[in-house]
Every structure is written in structure tokens, then in C-alpha cells.
Symmetry: C2
Subunit: 262 residues, 2 copies
Amino acid sequence: MNVLIVYAHPEPRSLNGSLKTFTVDRLTQRGHDVRVADLYAMRWKPTIDADDFPARAPDGPLDLEADSQQAYATGTQPPDVAAQQADLRWADAVIFQFPLWWYSMPAILKGWVERVYAYGFAYGVGEHSDRHWGDRFGEGIFQGKRALLVVTAGGWDSHYGERGVNGPMEDLLFPITRGILHYPGFEVLPSFVVYRAKKMDEARFARIREELGKRLDGLWTEEPIAYRKQNGGDYEIPALTLKPGLEEVGGSGFRLHVRQRV
Amino acid sequence: MNVLIVYAHPEPRSLNGSLKTFTVDRLTQRGHDVRVADLYAMRWKPTIDADDFPARAPDGPLDLEADSQQAYATGTQPPDVAAQQADLRWADAVIFQFPLWWYSMPAILKGWVERVYAYGFAYGVGEHSDRHWGDRFGEGIFQGKRALLVVTAGGWDSHYGERGVNGPMEDLLFPITRGILHYPGFEVLPSFVVYRAKKMDEARFARIREELGKRLDGLWTEEPIAYRKQNGGDYEIPALTLKPGLEEVGGSGFRLHVRQRV
């Protein structure tokens, strides 16, 4: 299988650097083909702006949706954007690996999403009407592909647990796992998170490698998060609200959008 | 009072551009002093990297916490970073205005946070021990200041409501309102969100200006979100988990960290 790793850390001699190398080696040893988008090493341009649409009419106001749609449809996107889109098409699975900075992904990775996820490619696809609000949340270009977050965090796991002061990690990552990955169709696996990333020793790092290795071996077989599909019958359209009676007792917030397994 | 607007949109001739101009005018008319960090116009450098620490030893591995701490303490930060920190100190209130892109802030604004929020300035302050886990979540450098998000979104309000397909807007913004603003001490007001931002006409825009104007007039008097303070007695330390019995019935996820008013 083909795996694309989109990796955002500035220092190769870091925990993240070591985990990325381990991931590449493990997947390669298992016979997979691996490509890495090392955003810092590539000096990835993180800001979406008028330079991303060289063929647009220069006088009118910049309109990211319209200009993105036009550039994607006419093949006038910047080469770095088109290359990442080609790698996403090539991939059977995508891994985003990054340190959690201020409760989200690094800016350079967010900018990768903003620039690579063109209109007509990752959004704005499918019928848009009062009966069908696009192919998204479980449908879209990446349907049939899998995605996994590999994340490092400085705090303890209890700080990010169900009652932890930061909020639950799965909720902090929900805007990414559901909003960036499930939206264009990926099946998303439960995130692999390394806590206390600054307090690492060789024994603990060996255990983490072993755990991550198992998760990588399960990339094709592990059960994904059971996010509800927008067009799977659970939502009223066009209000896009969850139909009455489908939530679990006590479920609220983001949890409403995950089917509970019995 | 002094208000800093941190603004992230690439096109002045846009809804965001108009709202920003309106905000500046309104606050100025009310006698406040206003500064704007127009990140696109400033061509803000969004990526935190080794160039941010010109005085660091070049041979060792980049360590963002240690290098940031050193640069902040020794006054060797880049001028653009130091200038933003000075504006934050000057401000009595800060407004982040941005379009919601992929369920979060634009990369250029996330990169502003990553670069301006130095160690020793916005985090890593106060005693760090098993009895006190830093001055954060309600304490810190911005204690006594207020913050407000002004956000535009393409979807309908129902899509972001309590049962909406995207998840509730207040939860999507929680990593920002609590994780980026309340963390270094800001009192955070409920966010001002404009939905269906692409479907605007003059009558609706007039209503939105009126609503936003009221919110701006209430910047100093409105009740902030009642986020629990980390060192206010609600959390076990050092586990940093909410003490038993404090949650509301049915509360879960991010909601645990807001005190309910009776």
C-alpha cells in the first residue's frame, strides 16, 4: 500500500524526528511505499494568498473559493500544491505527524491544508442543493482511504483525559480528525498520542515505538472512528442537524457525531 | 481603553475587511485607542523556526521552549515578535478577527500565536511543581484583560448549532478561546460569529453591524465565559483533573470546564 506522511516539526534531532524515521522504516519493512512531506525541510509556504492563483484576474477582489476552484479546474495551481494533491491521490493512507502547539496543529501544517485542499478537490464537490449538501463527512475524494494522527504533547495524559484541564484530547483533535480528514472522505483511526513528550528516556521510547509499530501494522485493519456520515441518513437536510433520538444518553457536543457501538 | 485587533484576512474588499473597518471606527468613535495587526498586509512570517532565535547556539538541536525562553529573557527576539508583545501589553482588550477555515483560525494567525506567545511571556510562567502547575487558565500575563473572537463562517447557524453536523461553534472555538486566550489569563467574551458569510446583502450587513456594534460597546461590561480557573480550587493538582461532583448533570467534554450559572 502507499502511505503519505505529512510531517511538521522543525528539528530532525527530536522525538518527532525519531518517530517519523521509525514510521518510515516500519512501513517500508512491511512492504509499503512511503512518501514524506517534511514541511519544514521543504520550507513549505504556509500562507494562502493571491500568489496561489497566478492566473486570476488581478483587478477583482481575491475570493479564495472562486479563485481556488478556477485554479484547480484549469491546472494553474502552484506546482507545490499540485504535487501534494498528486501524492494524496497516490496514497492509500495518510499520516499527519505533528507536535500539539496551542491545542492544534502547527501553522505550517494548517497552511498545507488551506493551500492543498482546493475547491473542487477536497471541498465543493458533489451536488449542493437543499436536498444534498455536497459530498462530505464520509464522502468525497478520499473515500476509501485511511488517515491517522500521530501527535506529541507536553502534558500528562490525565491533563488531556475525560476530566482533564485541557479538555479531552479526542475533542481537541476533532476539528482535525472530523473537520479536516473525515470531511473529504477519509476513514480516520483513533489518534496515536505521546504525552509528556519532553520527559523521554530510552526505556519509555522503546515502549512507544512498540505501541506505534502495532498501530502502523493495523493501519489497514483497525476499526476507524465511527463518525456519522452526512449523507448516511442521520442528519436533517438542509439544516444538517442530527435527527432526534439518535444520540446516546448524556451525549453532547462533538460526541453526538460518533455512532456508539453496542 | 486600548484595543488591539489581530486580523487575518487577505482581501480588504471582503466582508471581513468591512467588519474590521467598522470595528476600528466604532471603537475610535467611543473614545478608545485602537491598533490593528493586519497580518496579511504586514506579510507576517507564520512559521516559527530557527530564524526566530538568532542568538541561539547554532550547533545544538532546536528546542522551541528553551530557545524561546532564552530569546525572550535576553531581548534577542525578532523585532516583529517583540512589537506584537508590546502591543499585547499595551492593550486592555484584544480582538481576534478571522474567517473560520477548516474549523480553525487561518494558518497566518496560528503562526502569530506560535511566534508571539514566547516561553516566559504567555506560558512557562509561575511556579511549576507538583503543587502548582504554572499560572495559566485564568492567570498569567493577560489577567485583567479581555478578549473577543469575531469570526465568519460559510455555513448556516444550524450547521454549527448544538446538534449541527460540524459540531457546536463554541466547542470548535474552545481550543482558541480557552486554549489560546484564557490560558495566558484573558477573560474571554462569547464569540461573535457571522454565519452564511458568502450570502450577504446590504440589509443583513446593516443588522450585523448593529449587533457587532452592541458587542463592541459591551467589551468592558459584558459577562465573560465562566471558564474554571486552573488554580481556583476546581482541579486536582498535579493530575489537573476536575474534582468529583463539580460537573453539571449531563456535562461532558469541554463543557466540564465552564462553571454553570444558576
